[in-house]
């Protein structure tokens, strides 16, 4: 456990020791703001909530989190530090979890820095802060899902560009499988349980309710088990081809 902490600390400090932190946070905040105000009609809706803000998170994460996750393992491989790391007395699992938690926590920091929006709605109106909190929790869980996918894809390759592109594609699959467009395509000629299955794998389906203030245990379990699954896959892939 303490070794997870040591790795976590090194990784998290690493984000702030390089321009990654500044670039990521600035772009995240800019895009979040732009989406919310221009595309989401934040003011014109005349409602005191952050729904337009949260609605864009899946799309924001789809691109930004792979950019953060791509280096998780690809960089260790490229630089040969993976050999250093795995000849220390540390288990594969500890390393995978430590690095993932640091990256996830970093997105949490970026997310927390959107608090001026929350302040704004509270100044302008009387929003239901419970709903907003649920939205933040859901968004954070979803970020973890994207990050775990990115971690796994990054473990497969030395090449960060490949890691980025593949993570975006896999992430897109997880977002789109709940999109009405995709579901409409399948509806009518496939059985209902198949439709439910596809949409039950979607980030959108699970994020939708949470962002509206309904924290269903099933949604939380969905995201957490998704994370565990992809981290498990990360460890397997590393075990299998860490030396290549």
């Amino acid at each position: 456990m303490s070794r997870i902490g040591v790795i976590f600390k090194r990784e998290l400090i690493g984000y702030f020791a390089t321009p990654i932190a500044a670039v990521f946070i600035v772009i995240f905040l800019m895009l979040a703001g732009a989406f919310t105000f221009y595309l989401g009609d934040f003011f014109a809706r005349g409602q005191a909530d952050l729904l337009p803000f949260f609605n864009f998170h899946p799309w924001l994460y789809l691109v930004l989190i792979p950019a953060l996750a791509m280096r998780l393992w690809a960089e260790e491989r490229r630089g040969g530090t993976i050999e250093l790391l795995f000849t220390l007395p540390v288990t594969l699992w500890e390393a995978v979890v430590g690095k993932f938690l640091a990256a996830w926590c970093f997105t949490g920091i970026a997310l927390a820095l959107t608090f001026p929006l929350w302040v704004t709605v509270n100044v302008l109106g009387e929003p239901d802060n419970g709903v907003i909190l649920a939205g933040y929790i859901g968004s954070f869980l979803m970020a973890g899902g994207f990050m775990a996918i990115g971690s796994c894809v990054s473990a497969m390759t030395k090449n960060q560009v490949i890691a980025f592109v593949v993570s975006v594609v896999v992430g897109l699959g997880f977002v789109l499988s709940g999109f009405p467009l995709v579901l409409d395509f399948f509806s009518g000629w496939t059985p209902q349980f198949f439709l439910d299955l596809i949409s039950s794998f979607s980030f959108l389906t699970h994020f939708h309710d949470v962002s509206r203030g309904v924290i269903d245990l099933r949604d939380v379990v969905y995201f957490l088990s998704l994370i565990v699954f992809w981290l498990f896959a990360t460890a397997l892939i590393l075990e299998w081809k860490k030396a290549e």
């Binding site: 040591v6 090194r10 020791a17 630089g79 530090t81 050999e83 250093l84 000849t87 007395p89 288990t91």
Partner: protein, 314 residues
């Protein structure tokens, strides 16, 4: 302390390491020699648990590296080939990280880092990102990381590669100092290093152990072992024929040298000592001798003849 049994590693059709077995005990410094691609690094990666062997076992202080990896790794210090380190960290933060991963905390951790930094002369660059360090300093960071926890088994893959002559000397004396309490395996392409620090030398080629012995035993396999170098002023007519007639002499080669001198290498029959006969010859003739020396043999020549068998005869 390190026991390697029937170790084998294949990468698809490539056999990188082929049934290698040996034991290294406390006090041993084993030099791993071999041409590029011989399987030295691959063997080390299996000993340190980074690679899973296709076959065979490695035990470190009684712990099987595959069955009890954590216990085995605690007893190991490893400098991987190329001395990888996190480029965005400074040597100080990097060593603190490695120390923390090894379970040291607080004052104990800082003391260890301080002592290690002193041992490998890293003082001047402690706060400069590793990626901006010169190759030699990077190597020293890697070395520091390997010895930080004072492990009883040290595996060093080309530890002096890229170091300047002074640092090479420093690192070799560091290794010699540590040798008494540790089992050390190091790989190198510098043959003089083997004579300087190793108590045992092992040549591997194409994944197989070709020879294993003390550096002196290796040298004794040289064609030139105990040969005599004799250099004379003047024409030295008939000297070669005379040397050739001495008892125990196999051949006499003529050596290149400055003009106005003649040089000879007198090669003995295997196992014969001919210094007595040659010096008697020198005594009995009015030669103007400028050099008379015994050659201990050449490791590089042994290395070549063992790893390139086809050309060894020419």
């Amino acid at each position: 302390m390190v026991e390697i049994r029937q170790l084998r590693k294949t990468f698809g059709p490539i056999v990188a390491v082929d049934h290698v077995s040996f034991t290294v005990s406390r006090g041993d410094v084993l030099g791993f020699l071999g041409p590029n691609g011989a399987g030295k690094s691959t063997t080390m990666k299996m000993i340190t648990g980074f690679l899973t062997p296709t076959k065979g076992t490695v035990t470190v202080n009684g712990f099987d590296i595959q069955q009890q990896p954590l216990d085995a790794k605690k007893n190991l210090g490893y400098l991987p080939e190329g001395a990888p380190a996190y480029g965005d960290m400074t040597p100080l933060s990097f060593l603190l990280f490695i120390g923390a991963m090894r379970g040291f905390r607080g004052d104990d951790l800082r003391r260890r880092v301080r002592e290690t930094v002193k041992k490998v002369n890293l003082d001047g660059v402690l706060h400069q990102p590793v990626e901006t360090l010169s190759k030699g300093f990077k190597r020293r960071v890697g070395l520091a990381q390997a010895i930080l926890h004072d492990p009883s088994v040290l595996i060093l893959d080309e530890p002096t590669d890229g170091l300047d002559p002074n640092q090479k000397h420093e690192v070799r004396s560091l290794i010699r100092d540590m040798a008494k309490q540790k089992a050390i395996i190091l790989s190198t392409h510098v043959l003089e290093e083997v004579q300087a620090v190793c108590t045992r030398a092992m040549i591997i080629a194409k994944g197989k152990v070709i020879t294993d012995g003390t550096p002196a035993e290796l040298e004794a396999q040289s064609r030139y072992y105990n040969s005599i170098i004799l250099r004379l002023k003047g024409e030295a007519a008939g000297v070669q024929a005379m040397l050739q007639r001495l008892p125990g002499v196999k051949t006499v080669d003529v050596l290149e040298g400055p003009s106005g001198t003649r040089g000879f290498r007198v090669i003995p029959e295997r196992g014969q000592t001919i210094i007595g006969a040659v010096s008697q010859g020198v005594h009995d003739h009015p030669w103007d001798v400028i050099e008379l020396s015994v050659d201990r043999g050449h490791l590089d020549e042994v290395f070549r003849s063992l790893t390139m068998p086809a050309q060894a005869l020419t």
